[in-house]
């Protein structure tokens, strides 16, 4: 998968979970930038990304991301 493909997939997942209309993520985005991305939806997002891309994150990885870009880095290693 390319970074662009991952972002498209993430946009879909975020839109489905947050359920407040379309989402357009950029690599520098953090949870502060996206309406509805809070600690609760974050759990749903992680589980849904794992399921959709058929990967598993370690607890360290989940703790470590500072923005969307770092999340993508992590996905790229596994995909």
């Amino acid at each position: 998968m390319t970074r662009a493909e991952i972002i498209i997939k993430l946009n879909e997942i975020f839109a489905d979970i947050i359920d407040e209309g379309p989402v357009y993520l950029s690599e520098t985005n953090t949870s502060n930038d996206i309406e509805g991305w809070d600690s609760l939806t974050n759990i749903q997002l992680i589980v849904d990304i794992e399921k959709n891309l058929n990967i598993k994150f370690t607890s360290d990885e989940i703790f470590s991301w500072k923005n969307v870009g770092e999340m993508i880095d992590c996905i790229l290693i596994k995909k």
Partner: protein, 576 residues
Amino acid sequence: MTFNELKKNLKKNFGACKPLRLAILGDSMTQFLAQAIRGAGYTHRLDITIFEADFNQIDRQIQDIRSDLYSFAPDITLIFEAGHKLLQKFNKTIVNERIKFAENQINHMQLLVDTLQKNSQTKIIYFNSAEEDDHVFGNFANKVPLSFIYQQRKLNYLLTEIATNIVDFHICDMSSIQNVVGRKAIFQPSIYLNSEMLLSLDILPVIANSVLQIISSFYGGVKKCVILDLDNTLWGGIIGDDGIDKIQIGGLGIGKAFTEFQYWIKKLQQRGIIVCVCSKNDETIAKEPFKKHPDMVLRLKDISVFIANWENKVDNIKLIQQTLNIGFDSMVFLDDNPFERNIVRQNIMDITVPELPNDPADYLDYLYELNLFETTSYSSEDTNRTEQYQKEAKRVEKQMSFTNENDFLQSLKMLAVVQPFNSFSIPRVAQLSQRTNQFNLRTVRYSEKDIKNFSESKTYHTFSFSLEDIYGDNGLICSVILRDRNVNELFIDSWFMSCRVLKRSMENFVLNTITNYAHDKGYKYLIGEYLPTVKNVLVKNLYTELGFNQDQTFWRLNVDTYQYKKCFIKTKLLEL
């Protein structure tokens, strides 16, 4: 449904749903559980307002009577202590104390439950815990009372033991859920480390559904009857074609699946579920295995209504419904044929028609998972319900031999026993209060505890009615609860009656009885009220028909000028 789908329900319009107040107390993060339960409530037509205590506040909320919990005044309180938290507690217990771990826990739980019940009217649902074996002793743990798994299993057992003795206290069986889905499906460690959440997102809908099944059963949503197809449902093969010696049933091969399925139906029947047959078959041929096949578990005496003909199943099921006089929503129809299932589903709105798997070997596991027969009560009367419905069928037969309705009623030689509620009748009265939908004037559901309180109160007057006739005892079939409105007026707080005894002049007998009582006690009026539900149209005009006069939204009957109504029931005096 997935968790995300349940969550999307939260945005829907709950307008037509029944409002309910639920408190959730947990020792881990419960926000998702709360969302899942409210979302699942929508599909059960319940608008559940949830109070969620911050986590780890179980003790404080319950023991401080000024807590938010008590001011919320929940109808139901859910207490969720996670198995993993139990393990953490166990880890911190010094070795010598571990042998008493389960006992100490249960004493504490009992204290919480007692305190909660003393200070509020809430029903309680307590989760038992999903087993988590720390494998410190390996399999040998089963021989070591101070091992965790030994203590955890003991605790789950002790919880069921106290549950048998406390009314309005129910267990949500987390342990059983985990047995089905496995530990890996229930617990995701990486998420737990990040969030204090001990339930995986995938398991939340399962748990929410389990909770909702318990809650629905509190409010009358229970199944009372199972209707069975025969060929390839109850036995393998087609009786009309294969003949009695070729159908598959018994210990060999695929017959085993049908035998085990029949044992399950038999256990339901013994529990009080009405079993009926609806089959496209010649009646004589269809009945043959029930009479003659040595491996049949079910016999004709287990079947309340047996219909085998070549008419369509929709009409036949409607006939069963009329004979039993219970709602379609309390019926389950089991048929291996997808065509029959669809026709029934399309034409009878509320009936439950499970999508039985193709392979009979899978029937039972599939049906177990659906958990269709949730209940909140079980009384000894349940066990002979089949007999009662069979007697009812005989009465219907006899009735047809009389041209005059009154002659028929006279011939039944009916006797009624009238008593205030007592410790024997309280469970049955509560059950009737929760289950009766049609002949129920106000449909206020009362628990055993409520009923017990009424029986001890000075402002309430309680009546239970049992009816017997030449065909046998119908058991306790009607209750009336009267409440003082003022010195002159008695309010009919509840009047509910089993549909088994409709059209037997029982309502006249009941009114004669309570009017007589009111008169003796010096009251001038009986005040009735009809609160409509989707199911109690039957009694919409009852008070008019019985001679009450409308008084705004109430109905009023003058006790002094009351004329006794004709009825064919005599009072049976109890021998003391």
